[in-house]
Amino acid sequence: MEVPYTVENRPDTGLYNAKVGIWLFLASEVMLFGALFSSYILLRVGALEGHWPTELLNVPIGTVNTMVLILSSVTVVMAWASLKLNDFKKFKMYQLATVICACMFVLIKSYEYRDKLTHHDVVLADGMRVDGHLVEETDEYIILSHPVSYPAVKGIGYRPTAIKEAEHGDDHHHAEDRKIMLADIVKRTTWGPWANTYFAIYFTLTGLHALHVIAGALVIAYYWGPGSKMWKTNPEQFTNRIEVSGLFWHFVDLVWIFLFPILYLL
């Protein structure tokens, strides 16, 4: 018993089974991310003034990451095209580049995550809010570098405004580290998903996207490494598999193309 059209195209649809399967899967993925983007819109529209701190993300790093992913999109096509041209060596080279790009993306993303998760945000008993990177922590006090302080009611999105105001002479922004006694702290968090709804949707969207990147990279790495033995036994099906994994990879890139502006720029 053999399931037909696993390798060759069915004449009336012009597709092999896996290609139909991946497109259907991507349709459901569109609905998955579509629902998340819709949630983003609904939450953003409902957010209070100063509670949507897009400015806190590092745009240059985000841009680099975007470039890395776009580059990987190019190499994944080149890898597939090389197989079509019967050039297995070039396939190996391009697909290695894809995997390296994927790893770079995840590394850069985790650096960004770490940067946010170590950024402390405290509300003091006097109603001011201070945030900065944690330098030192003891039982009595914490020390934050590059601290910024502003009234707590204004929300963490007020931070860039506070820095600008400091540059115009107000004494909100301290270049030197600030020592804060634990006794003065009313509430203390970091810039994790719990910090506010913006960070919540940021971590959820990018986290889910990162899972997709990792999953895609694992598949591509498998067909670059041990899975590539199939090239010798069944080159057509192997090429199909590279095409299907490439389609998924393009989708992952495309999601980031939407994520980058809505989270970093808008």
Binding site: E2, G21, S39, G192, T204
Partner: protein, 617 residues
């Protein structure tokens, strides 16, 4: 005519033996029944698992019905058993005079937990897997003339994920605090604030079940697009395949938003986010939240699945019923093309009606108006489908066997369920009826005597193909009449209760709001409606008893039922009856080529009253 068929069938069997060459090695128990990639075994796996879940879901509601009919009274036998398993969630009842322990009653928490799990299990673990995965897996590849599903291993993974999700759901009964208690809809912030890990289990199980149905949906659509036999054009496909095709699209596109809904609620539970928790939320168990979220967001995400889900529940049953009606009236389906196009329209429209579940959430009257309009429009294709099936009966010489009885009962029962939905679809009458027993009556009429009757009809109908034996006809009829009568006695009074204003989700069945207990209050619940609770409960128990002949019949007939006389015992036209009985791995002895439509019954001038799809007239 009979003799030629018998000869053909004999040849078929002969071929089957020869065909066995490439799988004559015995794959062993595990590969054959647990890790099978054969769509028929997977279909049966789904079928057995979902029937067990259905039985369990019924047990949950039976327990809840006791609490509603006899609030605060100890439940005999079951109460003590539940006390052993669930501990403090049952409430001990003491004799008021002697202070002796006389038994255990259902506590309000336990009622809530069972209510949430009854809904979840019945919808996601019983009816959908039975309707879509079990019947779809077994029948669709056979009907389109395929050797298997397009992705057999994915199919296996899909069943295993489903089982895993179901087991996680079951495991939540045994944890401290018990299972989820916030209803099958799990509305936030209620669901987030209840202090039980059961909700966590619910969310994780749901994500796994959704993944499973996603894999299934991809597989079904790819199979129907790619693996149709030569000559099986779209308009030659049996209506059942069309119904499954549209259902698969609904699952594919509607489930991901619920996955997002569950994911965000999971984040609210474990990562401290506030997706569904608004600023200023005052619940004592939820301090220090960042706020800024929206409870309405969850409801939108949930009902974006929730409404297509209704059609996921009903479409496969419509498919089954139309196969059985065409076969037993010995006539082509009336308006096959109308049926197909209506189903497609239904599938599309089901994506834009979801907020009619949310008229009372304060989302705004303009939005309500939009969704009220689309809801009224979607009733048109539903009515077309039902009308086509009704007219199909006209002038047929109907065979009243058990599958046909269930299929016939489906029509008026689903009709009642559908028509009682209209007052709920209008936002002004919904204000009165929302969250009352009227709603419960409405959707149970759609799902229980509607969908489940259709599916039971399917079990009786395809059983001879799966086992080579008929189910017992006499006990089948006992099962039918028992189910039919008690189903109606169970759900009919709920309309009256609902219109009298009795709300759902009350462990005491509304006693607390009765006129008897609140003589001075305006709008209390009249005594006769509270008393109906006991009637409904007894009818529900009788309905449970009426399933015993079915369960015995189902197992007994595997080895002791009447043997089928041929591979096509119902004299059907569709391809699944052109295989050996039961079909071997790979299904067809010779690859079928389709030459005719799906319902070539009583063709004028033909020597027999049916022409199978792969045979020329």
């Amino acid at each position: 005519m009979e003799s030629t068929e018998a000869k053909e069938l004999h040849d078929t069997h002969h071929d089957a033996d020869g065909h066995g060459a490439d799988h004559h090695h015995d794959p062993g128990f595990w590969r054959k029944y647990i890790f099978s990639t054969d769509h028929k075994i997977i279909g049966i796996q789904y079928g057995i698992t979902s029937l067990l879940f259905m039985l369990f879901g019924f047990f949950l509601i039976a327990t809840m019905r006791w609490s509603m009919a006899y609030p605060g009274q100890p439940m005999p036998v079951v109460g003590s058993l539940l006390h052993i398993i669930m501990g403090d969630m049952t409430s001990a009842v003491f004799d008021p005079e002697t202070k002796e322990l006389i038994g255990y009653a259902i506590s309000n928490d336990l009622y809530n937990a069972f209510g949430a799990m009854h809904g979840t299990i019945m919808v996601f673990l019983a009816v959908v897997p039975l309707a879509f995965a079990a019947f779809g897996n077994y029948v669709v590849p056979l009907q389109i003339g395929a050797v298997d599903m397009a992705f057999p291993r994915l199919n296996m993974a899909s069943y295993h994920l489903f089982l895993l999700g179901g087991l996680i759901m079951l495991a939540s009964f045994f944890i401290p605090g018990g299972p989820a208690q916030a209803g099958w809809t799990s509305y936030s912030p209620l669901a987030t604030s209840i202090q039980t890990d059961g909700q966590l289990y619910w969310l994780i199980a749901m994500v796994i079940i959704i993944t499973s149905s996603l894999l299934g949906a991809v597989n079904f659509i790819a199979t129907i697009i790619q693996l149709r036999a030569p000559g099986m054009t779209w308009m030659r496909m049996p209506f059942f395949c069309w119904a499954q095709f549209v259902t698969a699209f609904l699952l594919l596109l509607a489930f991901p938003p619920l996955e997002v809904g569950a994911l965000l609620q999971l984040m609210d539970k474990v990562a401290g986010t506030s997706f569904y928790l608004p600023t200023g939320l005052a619940i004592s168990t939820m301090k220090d939240i960042s706020g800024g979220g929206s409870p309405l967001l969850y409801q939108h995400l949930f009902w974006f699945l929730g409404h297509p889900e209704v059609y996921v529940l009903i479409l496969p049953a419509m498919g089954v019923v139309s196969e059985i009606i065409a076969n037993n009236t010995r006539k082509p389906l009336w308006g096959y093309k109308s049926l197909v196009y209506s189903t497609l329209v239904l599938g599309f429209l089901s994506f834009i009606v979801w907020a009619h579940h949310m008229y009372l959430t304060g989302m705004g009257t303009k939005i309500s108006t939009f969704f009220q309009t689309t809801t009224m429009i979607i009733s048109i294709p539903s009515v077309i489908i039902l009308t086509c099936l009704f007219i199909s009966l006209w002038g047929g010489s109907i065979r009243f066997n058990t599958p046909m009885l269930f299929a016939l009962a489906f029509l008026p029962m689903f009709g009642i369920g559908g028509l009682t939905g209209l007052p709920l679809g209008f936002n002004y009458s919904d204000i009165l009826l929302h969250d009352t027993y009227y709603v419960i009556g409405h959707f149970h009429y759609v799902v229980a005597p509607g969908t489940i009757f259709g599916l039971i009809a399917g079990i009786y109908f395809w059983y001879p193909k799966m086992t080579g034996r008929y189910m017992n006809e006499f006990w089948g009829k006992v099962h039918f009449w028992g189910s039919f009568i008690f189903m109606n006695l169970t759900f009919q009074p709920m309309f009256a209760q609902g219109m009298a204003g009795m709300l759902r989700r009350m462990a005491d069945g509304g006693v607390g709001y009765s006129i008897a207990n609140n003589p001075d209050a305006v709008g209390g619940l009249a005594d006769q409606f509270v008393k109906l609770n006991a009637n409904i409960t007894l009818a529900a128990y009788a309905l449970g008893l009426a399933q015993i002949p079915f369960i015995i019949n189902l197992f007994y007939s595997i080895s002791k039922g009447k043997k089928v006389e041929s591979d096509n015992p119902w004299h059907s036209t569709t391809l699944e009856w052109q295989t050996p009985t039961p079909p071997p791995h790979g299904n067809f002895t010779t690859p079928p080529t389709v030459t005719g439509g799906p319902y070539e019954y009583s063709v004028p001038g033909s020597s027999q009253d049916y022409i199978p799809q792969n045979q020329k007239a």
